[in-house]
Symmetry: D2
Subunit: 302 residues, 4 copies
């Protein structure tokens, strides 16, 4: 390394304190020179100190992707003002963007059916502070999860679903989401397919976990299908929900080794660990504004 001989680890006297208050901007647009400079300049001019910036140009699509997080200490704009001021710039530059100020916690609804391992994991992680959100409510088509949800002091709503009542159930679910001002819906092994209408109201804001390594074993009973095919690894996939079942943009995947001795029941059991890990990561990354969805793909900023 060129430069002065200062040992930075010794010399600093006033280490910068990372404020719990930061803002994060995600954006993408067609690439061209000067984009980093324009955004960095905007933040600097309003008194922000950039803590993390991650940018890359995708050669394949010619797109520019960026995530930037800055300290709100000394930043002169609040969320409302930022949105107003940045809109003008973004309009000129043709950005697609979203911003999140750390002092506003998003509101999350968890949907669940009978299996509670993913729900339990989310509730516990939320309790100990790993998930930076409010879990506003839990919705289920069964009563099974009520005791667990109430143990954690959260509202539980039972919206039974049959073929006949499905539309009515969705209507009441949507009312709940609206009442609680929900920003993100997490399907934690919710075994009902949401209607296109429901999905269209929360674009890139419904996260599901599928119990296979997509695109392998779409549809029902993936562990049985995996066993039948004799694979040596099984997987789980978290993804945004869109109209095509199991076809939404993938956020995270992971796998675990299985052996010829493992019957489908063992696969189900091994898969439970995967499912909760893969779903938790996706929810966490979404809440940390790390996930940018474009077309059927995601950019997940580290």
């Amino acid at each position: 390394m060129q430069g002065t001989a200062t040992d930075f680890r010794q010399s600093r006297e006033n280490p910068l304190e990372r404020s719990s208050q930061t803002a994060i901007l995600l954006l993408y647009c067609t690439d061209r020179p000067g984009l980093v400079r324009v955004v960095a300049d905007f933040i600097f001019r309003h008194g922000g100190n950039i803590l993390n910036l991650n940018q890359h140009q995708d050669n394949h699509s010619g797109l520019f992707f960026m995530r930037v997080e800055w300290s709100l200490m000394g930043f002169s704009l609040n969320e409302q003002q930022f949105k107003q001021a940045f809109s003008t710039l973004a309009g000129n530059e043709d950005f697609r963007w979203r911003v999140a100020f750390g002092n506003t916690k998003p509101s999350v609804a968890v949907f669940v059916s009978r299996y509670q391992h993913c729900l339990l994991d989310l509730l516990y992680r939320h309790r100990i502070g790993e998930l930076d959100c409010h879990i506003a409510l839990v919705v289920s088509n069964h009563e099974d999860a009520r005791p667990l949800v109430e143990f954690y002091g959260l509202p539980f709503f039972h919206t039974p679903v049959t073929r006949e009542t499905k539309m009515a159930a969705e209507t009441s679910q949507l009312q709940l989401l609206q009442r609680y001002g929900v920003d993100l819906v997490v399907l934690a092994r919710y075994m009902q397919v949401l209607s296109p209408d429901f999905v269209s109201r929360y674009p890139d804001r419904i996260i599901n976990v599928h119990h296979s390594f997509l695109p392998a074993f779409t549809g029902a009973k993936p562990y049985h299908a995996a066993h039948e095919r004799g694979v040596k690894l099984i997987g789980a996939t978290s993804h945004y929900v869109n109209d095509d079942l199991d076809e939404g943009a993938i956020i995270e995947q992971d796998v675990v080794r299985v052996s010829h001795r493992d019957d489908p029941e063992v696969l189900i059991e091994k898969g439970r660990v995967l499912e909760r890990v893969v779903l938790s990561r996706a929810v966490r990354w979404h809440l940390q504004q790390r996930v940018l969805c474009y077309g059927n793909r995601t950019v997940v900023f580290e």
Copy 2:
């Protein structure tokens, strides 16, 4: 996402072509507002388009780390001019930095003893274009690797080392490195400890692979020690070499599962795969200017 409704994937007509000619700047300094802007502005003013920028502030140390890669297409400075122009800026800002222009390939020396699996892996990867460098020469304290090296058309030098001749051997090795203008030394299972004098001439430019998951099992015979302790995973570690054996800054590590049935010979065999993977990654990342070493730690930019 807010913004216009343009579908970027449809609309672009002239996708940006990524030039094989890019430059990469690595730098770190005490964090403060405006650093991204200063560097982005410098690159923009000289006609560069940033392709990748990765920056983060380390809250623990208060340091600012950055890697930025930009296209040389249309960039108005050559390497020499860049260094001159950027030095002034860097001096004012107290940066520690280094730059690499893609049109200059670094020169690499590989040191090896008897085991050739890491050497073989490096030579093959180099041949098929995975390692962006010239392998200038291979140096060994044994003759074993000569046929392999000559098969790949590279110069091979035998510098036998005994306790008595060690200093003389190092002298002739250093002369070779100088003659071939070597930028990076890779110890591909080279079983000799280099003297502090040798090491000091290539700071953060000698990469070694140690056949354990450091800091566990330092020293000789780590696989036997791992077997003795009954661990369930074995590892390998690539690191920069400094004066303290096995204590240099770690670049990469990986592990593989072992079982009670595996005797030390099986561990050695399983470890061979690890060693070559872990060493190759480290060399590759170093050559791609992804590794920034500070104190006894590395930042590895993805």
Copy 3:
């Protein structure tokens, strides 16, 4: 494959039903010819059908290790009778052995301090049937875990520990273990060191989880030590407890990748997933009679 052309998958009419009632025998001794035959013959003569047999000779130590599971359907001996009858054989053959009949569920005590992630995981897995045991009680030196334990309907005992009261606390803990007929003690992030006297009463029957990849980072604050050393993977280890802290026989280990961006708090968070997975596997394998401990090592039968 030689043999007849029968398609076994088509031809069988009465697939064997695996009884939920099986017995498992673990044994080891000095290797010599005929051992498999002797044991298989013993089981056969008493009407047992072997479902799984796993045996290997360890060339290093000259020992013979075996795990065999057979159906109790039609087996003529109960647990008491088996122990009597097999003792004679085992004495002649110089076996070290233990047997578990599936109709007797072992009794488990979980010790915990403040962190509840491992406890939660064990309680949930137990609830849904993944752990084949009774969790008889939970013991803690803090009150924090009481609500969770009582939610699962289990007895919770608070035994506060200070330097002065440590011996008295252990005495009351040992009384609890005796009262509840405990077969296995699980230390689920229990932050107290047990005395040699306590440990000696449950040889190979106390399982701990240490939050590092042993033997690296023994002792306190392993995540901070790992961060300081700049490792690229962090690990967790479950092991039997013996007199030497962090030196007991390892049952299971796993690792997760970390980056330069992860400060110690992030390592702690990533480690929580590891710890619970690694501890759950160890407990599960112990309960399935898959773990045979000899000297400072374990054989873990798949």
Copy 4:
């Protein structure tokens, strides 16, 4: 553990020496009581000492699977005699079985096209003794690999394949296999589909590597398809070849993490490491008689 207090690690004076000469028997049949005993008894009566025995009953199919390895030191039958003697027993018991005596090395042919990474890995592993076989010849539809193969001192045959000459090429390839007494054919990125007639002559004796995590991304250009779908892990699969392309029984699979920054070329590069590891393991396990193929599935004995 019950039993005597002997410390086996201290007391043994004449540790058993594992002979390099062992025999391995693989068998399966419909499960019933007494099977282990019958085989163990057979081996014992002819003077063999069992070193490894791995057996399990598959509850799903009702089948009994077994792999047993024993020392030939003192064993009274040679391979020919064993086959004769065991045939009678096997006929009575309706076994499907095969045996391999360690003193006969199998003969292997490697087929390759242009990419040499898998071939290189096999040749090197063979050279250093990791693959217990003779590599009898290398066959290719291109000349590219000739120098590498000749460097390793092995016969290389160029059998060009066009649509018109495909049948003639296969005929000459089959003649080569016969001439060299080939037991196993390894397709090390051989980019031609073998005809059903060719495949039928080597049932469960042709191993291929497919560059995806099957059953995802069958067919051509799997890395491009994986990129298009936006998966977060890519995989490779080694399998026996049968008539249905990419549908043969899977032997081994593995995956590696990819990111949104990785374009298809990077996936190809990351995949190369996977492919060679996954293929080498499959070949190695096959040669160690660890793989038993039934229907479209494999049992891989550890």
